[in-house]
């Protein structure tokens, strides 16, 4: 469903992401881990078509993000770190706008919005202005916006940040349900909460200083009683010097 092929993003000498490749299949929920500034958001933004990679490419539901940009973007549901909401719109109007710009055929829009509202538990706030909603509800509206057009690929950037424990449970259950029903969704979610990974992810991809340092099923990683915290600490302890940085440093000292 998702195939990253050597994704790299450089800003001049600064290397944000270097040669990251991985595959995510249908029905999988992959936890995207890494310290702050490791390149998680940048990688996600490249997959969603928000910014192009400097090198490499990716396939989203078999569509190349360059060659078939529109088809690839249509196949992704993306929830950025700050949900992209218009405070002056009501929930229903927002979701109707999203299904329209996501090319859902006119006859299916109503049903798509109803389904997203129901799945994300937004029934009571449908007519409320988004600006007047609590943070938890806004997060759910953002998630509803990401799934409303029924994309096969979901990319969620810290979906549970700022929610209360009960809301966190609900969102996790929803994500799990999305991925497992029909096994047709591939989900990537980034998070800092390791317990969250243990709760919903089947696989872990660890990014450190822009490079992939770990990519394994959760069961395999934690086999033998190893804790995810230890693995995380171990993997991010050493410096990964990216080739670009190395040359930059060499030039700097010369």
């Amino acid at each position: 469903m998702i195939e990253a092929r050597g994704l790299s993003k450089r800003y001049g000498d600064f290397v944000a992401v270097e040669d990251v490749s991985f595959q995510v299949g249908g029905g999988e929920v992959v936890g995207f881990l890494g310290p702050n500034g490791a390149g998680k958001t940048t990688t996600m933004r490249m997959l969603t078509g928000f910014m192009p990679p400097t090198d490499g490419t990716a396939l989203i539901a078999h569509h190349d993000i360059f060659a078939e940009a529109q088809a690839a973007r249509r196949s992704v549901g993306y929830l950025p770190e700050t949900p992209p909401l218009y405070p002056e719109m009501d929930v229903d109007g927002y979701l109707r706008y999203v299904v329209t710009i996501q090319d859902v055929p006119r006859s299916q829009r109503r049903a798509a919005v109803d389904r997203a509202v129901e799945r994300c538990g937004l029934g009571e706030v449908r007519r409320r202005l988004i600006g007047a909603l609590s943070k938890g509800y806004r997060q759910r509206v953002g998630l509803a916006g990401a799934i409303v057009h029924g994309p096969p690929v979901l990319i969620l950037d810290e979906p549970t940040v700022g929610l209360d424990p009960i809301q966190i449970q609900e969102i996790r259950a929803l994500i799990k349900e999305l991925a497992t029903t029909g096994r047709d969704h591939a989900v990537i979610l980034s998070t800092h909460i390791l317990a969250e990974v243990e709760a919903i992810c089947g696989r872990v991809i660890l990014i450190h200083q822009g490079q992939k340092v770990e990519d394994a099923p959760l069961a395999e990683l934690t086999a033998g009683g190893r804790k995810l915290e230890e693995i995380f600490a171990h993997a991010t302890a050493r410096d990964v010097v990216a080739p670009g940085e190395a040359t930059a440093r060499a030039e700097g000292s010369a």
């Binding site: 800003y11 933004r45 969603t48 078509g49 928000f50 910014m51 192009p52 529109q70 973007r73 249509r74 992704v76 993306y78 950025p80 700050t82 949900p83 992209p84 909401l85 218009y86 405070p87 002056e88 719109m89 706008y97 999203v98 329209t100 710009i101 996501q102 090319d103 916006g145």
Partner: protein, 261 residues
């Protein structure tokens, strides 16, 4: 392309949900009323004096179009450089501030869908302003007999000026995430476009070279005045078209640059 109206409709409705649209419409209507009343009062006064002095030649030349409507449109075209930036400042900058640019740029919308959709919303607002303004000279037809064609040409001038300003405002909004910066930037560019004519005239006092001609061509005032005087010429019409096209191309480039940075 079929998604442009969707983007435009959302933009327009959010303009009317926020107070900006109402504030702008109210202030514009108030100013129009003020300038119009001023025009009518001074017209009547001039008429009275001309009669008292029995200046028949002067009276013969005096008419509602040249003495009242054209100067009125002229004042209101200057007011537009304050008003239009207020409408366009949020077009792109608020998307960036809200993070909704991530929604738009990761959706199947093309950059042109976004830019033209937003411009269409601003253009619709300009038409509302034009309709509002048309109401004032329309009253004169009830009590006098101004020339219809000349009046309509002036109104066309105002609307085209507004459309060109909206495109410039669109560009200003596309390069920043701050609405205030977008407003100031648009205002400064429009002011420059407006005073370009005066600069050109100053330069031309010696001998008019190609630079003066070029600056004069860039100036909005010259083209607007021709229309306001009732001269509908393709050279002037194409000027507005060029300003709109260039501004929208620059806006598109600015929106796209987010993807390529």
């Amino acid at each position: 392309m079929k998604r442009i109206p969707t983007v435009a409709a959302r933009e327009l409705s959010s303009l009317f949900v926020s107070p900006v649209a109402y504030v702008v419409l109210t202030l514009y209507a108030l100013l129009a009323g003020f300038f119009f009343l001023l025009g009518v009062v001074s017209f009547v006064e001039t008429l009275r004096q001309a009669q008292a002095f029995q200046a028949f030649d002067f009276l013969q030349q005096m008419n509602l179009n040249d003495t009242l409507i054209t100067p009125f449109f002229g004042s209101m075209s200057v007011v537009l450089i304050f008003v239009i930036p207020g409408i366009t400042m949020g077009l792109f900058s608020s998307e960036k501030a809200n993070g909704t640019d991530e929604l738009l740029l990761t959706s199947p919308l093309t950059v042109w869908d976004i830019v033209l959709g937003k411009y269409l919303a601003a253009a619709a607002f300009v038409l509302i302003l034009g309709a509002l303004l048309g109401f004032f000279p329309a009253m004169l037809f009830r009590y006098g007999d101004p020339e219809l064609a000349k009046t309509l040409a002036g109104l066309l001038g105002i609307v085209l000026t507004g459309l060109a300003y909206a495109a410039v405002g669109c560009f200003a909004s596309s390069v920043t995430r701050s609405q205030i910066i977008a407003f100031i930037l648009a205002f400064v560019i429009l002011l420059l476009l407006l005073i370009m004519g005066a600069v050109a005239e100053l330069g031309a006092m010696g001998n008019a070279g190609w630079l003066e001609g070029f600056l004069g061509y860039l100036s909005v005032g010259e083209h607007f005045e021709n229309l306001a005087a009732g001269l509908v010429d393709t050279a002037d019409l194409s000027y507005f078209f060029v300003v709109i096209a260039v501004s929208l191309l620059l806006s598109k480039a600015a929106v796209e640059s987010v993807r390529w940075r």
